[in-house]
Amino acid sequence: MPPGLGGHTAIGGQPAQFAVTDARLVEVGAMSRTQLPGLTSRPGEAASSGGGVPTRFLASIPGGLALVLLFRGLYLVRFGGDPCWMNLNFLLEAKAVRFGNAVELRMPLSRIVLYLLREAGASTALSLGAIYLVAHSLLAVGIFWLGRAVLRNDPRVRAGLAIVVAGVPMFATDSGYRNIACTLGAALFVAIAALLVSPGRQRLGLRLCAAVVLGAGAASCRP
């Protein structure tokens, strides 16, 4: 996790704005004062104290990622044997590279990764499954980081975000699998967005380098 992404600020380093926001909620009756940790103590301290062990586990990046991977594993076990029509195009491109058949020249990341995996002996299902899991891991972690840039530092909110990312049909059904170039491209894009727009300047060089590498991948990955 990059420095400055949660753990010590309430909403991306803007505690004053946080307090005003919640005060307004009190005014309109949406929350009671006793439920406003940000007004009764320092935002970071009080906010991080909520939630039981499962909530705190899911609120952490590894915990949220574990839940996401559990759902993606469920999809693969249930439907991973079917490559889906769009992915067949990328598999064909990889195969064309290997055997010298006619090839459509598109942005190459998907075909290169698939080519390397297939050439290493991985089956179709294993190759697609590996890219799928890596892409969804990047996507999930990127969303969690972006969440920490704006959402309040409340374990229940973070656990809620992990549950939504894990279970929303957009990611958990074949929408997140059937065009693996889209999934990979979106994952790389979200990861670099998280690196670049999240608050804090610690380890800036590392973040920028990672963003360039991931971004080059994203830019060479068109569906």
Binding site: Q17, T21, A30, Q35, G52, F71, Y75, R78, D82, W85, L88, N89, K95, G100, V103, E104, L105, M107, P108, I112, R118, T124, G142, L146, G147, A149, V150, L151, R152, R156, V157, G160, L161, V164, G167, V168, M170, A172, T173, D174, S175, C182, A186, F189, I192, L195, L196, V197, S198, L204, L208, A211, V212, L214, G215, A216, A218, A219, S220, C221
Partner: protein, 381 residues
């Protein structure tokens, strides 16, 4: 990527890594494009012009087959079935803006020279986004609830202040949002993947005050119910289509083993077989390059060279002439569990001709239910 770089540059130090981040995003974009070009040029040099499809018509085709849902609705009411396939939608758009040739391959040219239709298109296209968001395999109609809470929160906090507090997300996702509003294909959930993180984050921002005031017990119950229902949904309805079957898989494995050493010359295979078997099934006489997004293919005007080169009898003759003495196999799939051919994208299947099989030895046969795949040996002629 370009949008992210531009907005980071504009936001400066107010958002994340600011201008340094903008430079990194710009550099990444450049590196990605250069790497892509180098990879493509390397392939093109290795293949020669006959072996590659440059895809010059890709963006034109993508735009033309992504007609706004409202226009499609009107069109399908006037002419039922007129928008059911990509090629039909493309033809519908040709009626609005002219052909690829008319516009010299320029979408802008088509829009500028048909301003009335362009305005209609641009005004109706944004409705595709909400229609795609509520798909069962996207965010489902339930998405309306948290997005309503976003509106409520913005009303409470003030529009300007509320939107400003989301600055990092705007910088990241403003460009994908614009793209999804005016370009992308409606009712196709995977193309929403770039924007979905923003929508999910926005939804969480909308409901976080409610999470904050709810009891831990209530939050726990809702979370558990959400997880269980999501798991059930994924397990029972996680896949909408089918692109293979047990017979197709078994027959492909058989072919893969048979052709592992030096490849085989096989007739045009259904894509699920050709794409998943890691062996050369076009040895001796490869199929010609197929630019399925080129307008000639959309109109069904296949070049004569293409028609000649996909003919099975011509391929066999060509392979023998070149000295091919490996296996020559004819695969006859009869698949009814799913549609293994498409009329538009598999013209080679329609154009390759049907050889007489009655004297050909049957090498292998695979059957499961109503699906059957037979493999004939053409090496013995």
């Amino acid at each position: 990527m370009a949008g992210l770089a531009a907005l980071l540059a504009l936001a400066g130090s107010r958002v994340g890594t600011g201008r340094l981040g903008a430079a990194a995003a710009g550099l990444a974009l450049l590196a990605g494009i250069v790497l892509g070009e180098l990879s493509n040029r390397h392939l093109a040099t290795a293949r020669g012009s006959a072996g590659v499809v440059w895809g010059a018509s890709y963006s034109f085709y993508a735009f033309y087959n992504s007609s706004p849902l409202l226009l499609r609705l009107v069109s399908s009411l006037q002419h039922p079935g007129s928008t059911t396939t990509e090629y039909l939608r493309y033809l519908g758009t040709v009626n609005l803006f002219g052909s690829f040739a008319d516009n010299h391959g320029s979408i802008t040219h088509g829009l500028v020279h048909h301003p009335g239709n362009a305005v209609l298109w641009l005004l109706t296209k944004p409705f595709d986004l909400p229609a795609t968001i509520v798909l069962p395999d996207a965010l489902t109609p339930i998405a309306a609830l948290p997005l309503w809470t976003v509106v409520q929160r913005l009303r409470r906090e003030g529009l300007t202040k509320g939107l400003a507090s989301l600055a990092p997300w705007w910088v990241a996702f403003a460009t994908p949002l614009l793209f999804d509003l005016e370009w992308t294909q409606g009712l196709h959930a995977p193309y929403l993947l770039f924007l979905a993180p923003f929508l999910l984050l926005l939804a969480m921002w909308g409901i976080e005050p409610w999470i904050g005031r709810a009891s831990a017990k209530a939050v726990g119950k809702v979370s558990m119910a959400a997880l269980l229902s999501a798991a059930l949904f994924v397990g029972l309805a996680g896949s909408r289509g089918q692109s293979t079957s047990p017979v197709v898989r078994t027959a492909t494995e058989w072919l893969e083993n048979r052709c592992a050493d030096r490849g085989c010359l096989v007739n045009a295979l259904p894509q699920p077989m050709e794409a998943t078997g890691w062996a050369d099934f076009q040895a001796g006489a490869p199929l010609p390059a197929k630019d399925k997004r080129a307008e000639g293919f959309v109109f069904g005007n296949y070049p004569k060279g293409y028609r000649d080169d996909v003919l099975w009898s011509n391929r066999v003759a060509r392979a023998i002439q070149r000295g091919w003495n490996g296996p020559i196999l004819y695969v006859r799939p009869e698949i009814s569990s799913f549609k293994c051919w498409t009329t538009d994208f598999d013209p080679e299947h329609r154009l390759e001709g049907e050889p007489r099989l009655d004297r050909m030895p049957l090498l292998a046969s695979f059957q499961d239910g109503t699906d059957r795949v037979d493999v004939f040996d053409f090496s013995v002629r």
